[in-house]
Symmetry: none
Subunit: 226 residues, 4 copies
DNA sequence: AATGAATGAGCGTTCATTCAT
DNA sequence: CATGAATGAACGCTCATTCAT
């Protein structure tokens, strides 16, 4: 939190770059434009970042760490794999919705870039994503989820749905509200993977219908978030 | 099928561009390189396409039409919304897996490009995607799917999962086989959205577990594809 | 006058090129645009003209010959060097005013082009200009003009003034009427070069003031023009 | 006079461009050639000028201001509209003769370019030209010139003659000496527009014949020029 | 004679990046 | 540290011109 002048300048550059990349597109943005908006010289940007693409790749590092730390913190407080998945998706969606420029950069210019794969920023994201897999694995272990599901597939379904929705949102502006899709999405997947052997039928099949109640619960789980 | 010399040259350019864009990346590719590989002059490329980006946007038009026509044809032969969804996803995955360069261009350079939205190629894709929504709507109408599901969300889950899996595949090479994920994915979603009121419980909950059988059936449905 | 099909096509190209060059500027015009407007293929233009610049240089040939023939014809009918100069300038101005596109091409793209100097079109113009020098020389010989004037300078004054006025006209549209400047211009020059020894003072100094009369006379001289 | 490094580089570019444009022609010149001759990178040229044509249009700005300031200075020292006109023409001719490359660029590539009309460089020239009109107007007011002359026409005659002579000179090299044409030219025009009512006949008609003396006087008037 | 199709050759312009101060 | 100034290295695109039919 306490940041010296250098860190503040670096943050200023990253924030400005996020905004400019999101508005103009990465290739259409110029270092000159970022420098102008950040009121910092072009040369100074190269004091902090080696290349323009390096600057792009630096964008997720800071915020991702914070997000995934928050995520890890919340997951400890929640019981049940399904509920944890719900929290994860909610946190991600909430984060994207509150940082549309960041979401734009992430969805349009970072994912889909092969060179980003080897990056510190991507490693941070991967470690965050790992939490999803862990929750799914836990769900299987505890018998909450079926034994024969493919955790990689389920994780891909969750991430893919999020990415598709958020990408659509940053590109076209619709739907207005991403978060209201969280519960039906999680309900559908959880219903599809839940173990029916040790669950009362009425829960797995009917509970999700009462979406409003679930949504309130979701909200409650996250109210402690800063 | 019968194409005159001009059409053949155009196709040659598009095919070469697809390959080059996929291998090098769109921005890293040069018209000069495409011209060299296609053994056509740079100027000739501009006879057929207005700009480099215009060439990129022209890539999906032809093949997408063919794919979605095939899709529409098959859907007529299949009964049941769930089976139709399975066929759609299988066809898409199969198409991507058989055309990795096209899949790469589509996933990495076309989707996520705002300017592509207004393009003829994108309109073709949208009309194809509409078939997914129609199938979901039909499933709801016939009572096969629950009444309170959000078709837009379900479609987004299907497309998002596909996009995520294919993107991962073109970027990292894994998983080797995309098609083996089709059935578990569809099973999970179908299970999550199926109407339990008018379906024997044993079908909706247990049938999907026998993945191999379903997969064979799926394969059988598509064996007639040219 | 009687022209075969080939000559008609050639004329069509020249006329179209004159229009396009005048409207767009020579460098900004393309052979493609001329071909489109003339409804003739680009390749055909190269059947008639070796290069784009060759086409430009061909523009004055035809019309200049006609103009200077008309000029020579009229000069035979007119007595007095001053009157002949007046007729020459009037004919030129009249020709430019009636063919603004040709005037534009001549003033903006032909004069001032060094390569035009060696051209048949320029030779035609030079032979026409020679008539001005001849008239001035005659005026000196007959004692109508002073002996110590520099014919080259006087010719340059006449041509320079015309060029300046016409250039301004084609570039800015003003003045509306070029011809009304002919008489005052000629009067000024003639007054400046007339021999005062053998002319009654009242003529050289006061006659020109009655511009209207002179103008009528000028008009009368030219009424025979087709 | 005191110029920092940036101004010196800019001047270097303009001077080199003037030379290259004059020698090769504007369209035939390349930025690359100018950069090579000026020993400056191509990119640096674009630091100072937005486009190649912008560089062309920047050429007259500096030198024109200097010339027209000098002109205004001298005009204050000279009595009589005729003498002032003589000084103006002499200064212009002198300037062109001493800067043949600049004269070439001005005559062949700037005048006759419609886009130059809206340029700062053209505005500078227009304000300089206005001095000619003012002198003519003064001559009319003081009774030195006739009341019924058209100042716009007289100005056009002066400018047109200069332009024609200088254009011929830069294109063909002849005549060698432009300045010796100044006096006969001015004499002719002045004689053509002078008011004969209040001038002794011997002055207006015979004085100009002694060209050498006038020329010396003209020279004397201008000897103070820096 | 006429042209649709193809291209060679070139050029202005951009911008990420570096360096001297 | 910070930056103004400078540039190397490309590349998309245009268009006059040619050629096969």
């Amino acid at each position: 939190m306490a940041q010296n002048k250098t860190e503040l300048r670096k943050k200023k550059i990253i924030d400005t770059a996020t905004k400019v990349f999101a508005q103009r597109g990465f290739n259409e943005s110029t270092i000159s434009e970022i420098a102008r908006e950040a009121k910092i010289s072009e040369a100074s940007i190269y004091e902090y970042f080696l290349t323009k693409e390096g600057l792009l790749f630096s964008i997720p590092a800071a915020s991702s760490h914070a997000l995934f730390d928050t995520m890890a913190f919340h997951l400890k407080l929640i019981r049940g794999a399904a509920n944890k998945l719900r929290a994860i998706v909610y946190l991600l969606m909430d984060s994207y919705q509150k940082n549309p420029d960041f979401a734009t950069v992430l969805m349009l210019y970072l994912k889909h870039n092969k060179r980003f794969l080897d990056t510190e920023g991507h490693i941070a994201i991967k470690s965050g994503i790992k939490q999803i897999t862990q929750v799914i694995d836990q769900g299987i272990e505890t018998g909450e989820f079926k034994k024969d599901i493919n955790p990689y597939l389920i994780r891909s379904m969750i991430l893919g749905t999020i990415e598709h929705l958020v990408t659509n949102w940053v590109m076209t502006g619709s739907p207005d509200d991403l978060e209201q899709l969280v519960d039906p999405m999680i309900d559908t997947i959880v219903l599809g993977i839940s173990n029916t052997d040790n669950l009362p039928v009425h829960w797995s099949l009917q509970q999700p219908v009462k979406q409003q109640g679930v949504s309130n619960k979701t909200q409650a789980m996250l109210d402690s978030k800063s």
